[in-house]
């Protein structure tokens, strides 16, 4: 059985600032990390393998050459091998072009997959679109916002617990299928030093556009249907008043006054 995990490398968003004059991102000194939701997807794959040992886990990412660090993290966590789609021609891809490129690579190289696991969204773009787009292009069903996955029906089906607006749902689907994981892990996983050393001996293939043997107009910026026309800093909200509340009575009085002033009481 084969599980593919599609992951993304993202900047640690808490650090990202924008240059107010040029309107461009200041990415200097910002660390790149494996997207936390993707990390949860890897954990989910590993969890399935703990129950069924004959599962191969392959991590796939599209990104610049540095993105191999994110795949290395997947290998440290326990993925068996990894594939990086790295080519200047892929640069500038929107969600559609990303999903399309991933789908082409999967069709060409890992067509015998059973499950694709993805994170609910990447913390930089927050679009949450690549997962469902990938599923649609590959013609497979998807289950979103999952928090738990188990195999059932003689490993021909999965049963997924997913979060819905009013609670939880248990959904079953025949494989192959795609599952997007809803949470990041509460505590990030940690690898042993042995796992870190062993990961560096595992296979990490780098694939370029020419390896996929497809018209290059469908990749990257050229293959994207959306175009970013402007990037700008958000309007900064006027800073409100911050007062000392070490004395509960005074703080409560201030709060009541504020609520009354704004007509909430």
């Amino acid at each position: 059985m084969k599980i593919l995990i599609c992951v993304k490398q993202v900047p640690e968003i808490t650090d990202v600032k924008i240059n107010p004059e040029t309107g461009t991102l200041i990415r200097e000194g910002v660390d790149s990390i494996l997207n936390p939701f993707c990390e949860y997807a890897v954990e989910c794959g590993l969890d399935l393998r703990r129950h069924y040992s004959d599962i191969e886990i392959v991590a796939i990412s599209m990104g610049p050459p540095q993105a191999r660090a994110a795949l290395m993290r997947c290998l440290e966590m326990g993925a068996d091998r990894a594939i990086l789609l790295a080519d200047r021609k892929f640069a500038g891809s929107d969600t559609w072009a990303t999903a399309f490129t991933l789908a082409e690579a999967i069709r060409a190289m890992e067509d015998d997959f059973d499950i694709i696991l993805v994170g609910k969204q990447a913390i930089d773009g927050d679009t949450a679109q690549v997962g469902p787009e990938l599923a649609e292009i590959l013609g497979i069903p998807q289950i979103m916002y999952a928090v738990g996955v188990e195999l059932t029906g003689n490993k021909k089906k999965i049963r997924v617990k997913r979060e819905i607006e009013t609670g939880n749902e248990i959904v079953e689907v025949k494989l192959p299928g795609l599952v997007s994981l809803s949470k990041g892990p509460m505590i990030r996983s940690v690898s042993s030093f042995k796992e870190i050393l062993d990961a560096r001996k595992k296979e990490l293939r780098v694939i370029t556009a020419s390896d996929l043997n497809i018209d290059e107009n469908v990749f990257g910026l050229k293959g994207s249907f959306t175009q970013v026309v402007k990037i700008f800093p958000p309007r900064v909200k006027k800073k409100g008043e911050v007062i000392d509340g070490s004395e509960a009575g005074g703080a409560a009085e201030k709060l009541v006054g504020f609520l009354r002033e704004r007509n909430f009481i």
């Binding site: 968003i13 808490t14 990202v16 924008i18 939701f37 559609w96 913390i123 930089d124 773009g125 949450a128 679109q129 690549v130 469902p132 787009e133 990938l134 599923a135 649609e136 292009i137 013609g139 497979i140 069903p141 998807q142 289950i143 979103m144 979060e163 607006e165 009013t166 609670g167 749902e169 248990i170 959904v171 079953e172 689907v173 990041g184 994207s224 249907f225 959306t226 175009q227 026309v229 402007k230 700008f232 800093p233 958000p234 409100g240 008043e241 911050v242 007062i243 509340g245 070490s246 509960a248 703080a251 009085e253 201030k254 709060l255 009541v256 609520l259 009354r260 704004r262 909430f264 009481i265």
Partner: protein, 404 residues
Amino acid sequence: MLKIDIKKCTGCKICEKVCPFGAIVIVDKIAQMQDNCTLCGACVNTCPEVALSIERRKVSEKELMLFSGIFIWGEYEEKDEGLIPKKVVKELLSQGRKLADRLDQALAVVVLGDGRLTGLETLIANGADRVIRCKHKLLGRYTADSFTNVISAVISKEKPSIFLFGATPNGRELAPRVAARLHLGLTADCTGLDINEKGEMVQTRPAFGGNIMASIVSPYTRPQMATVRPNVFSFGELDNSRKGEIQDFYVVLSPASIRTKVVAIEKLRDEREVSIEDADIIVSAGRGCKKKENLKLIRELAEELGGVMAGSRSIVELDWIPHTRQVGQSGLTVGPQLYIAVGISGAIQHLVGMSSAKTIIAINKDPDAPIFKVADLGIVGDAIEILPVLIKELKKSQSPCSNS
């Protein structure tokens, strides 16, 4: 162009059953495409033999001009055994109305459901010119497969220039599925929609956790698709004098086209309760509340103000509240009139989910907590000491005696 691989086709008739337009017929145990095929794609994913595929070509600028109409997915939710439109539909209609007037095009709302669909006139009063009703017994509950098929069919037939979805959990699943099927550009989670001088829709959205904004267009594909963040756009009063049309769209669906099967549902929120997405006043708790027992203070304050209780991801993970009440990146986006953050430090993942609240009050021990950067009023102190006094004061001031 729909391609049928006759070597793979077994003539099983599944595609014939799922085609919304009756554009496939089986002749001599082989599927054949008819002239009325709209390339909606409903058949492709249901074929068990993978014998069907669609080759899409780029549409010329001239052809793009033929697309007209602002369409909105009118998402319904179950309540009291019935189906009623979600709040975001009103927001979309209000904003859609503005776009429609700018472009001088019609505003249509597409509603999917079973026999329980009601309130269609209200949608007209909210701004719609047309209500496109898609009624089928398999549409009583949302599934990605059935809704993708129907929305794709509507788009293929009606050819609107813009199609908007609420960025709700279901909207964020459905829109990319439709976009991928019909090869359309799609922008997620927009907080601003405008029309530029070329008549294109400019879609503005936050990225990097709200640190930057990006404006995006889809120049080559129609309809231009976007999901729109709930609680961002306001809506006005109902205008019952508005005239509009309710039209039925003929739906073809087969159980075979729905691949996922719900086997159990666990309700964590009574559907009659106000969801935090719809609430006007939210009192939200974080780790600074220290103990689960202290949440009764939060609940009490919420009740006193006529609001609801919510919380940060941390306390959901500690199992103090269900995820249906979680605000933030991995939870829900809220936009109340008043948001009181109690013991929430305000990590960027939380701020993303609540920064569109009109008024924000924060109580936190740490004077450097980022939540104070967005708060209209910040109190540096121990919430567990302050809240009991506040609740007492509120009770006093709200009681009838205080009027004298």
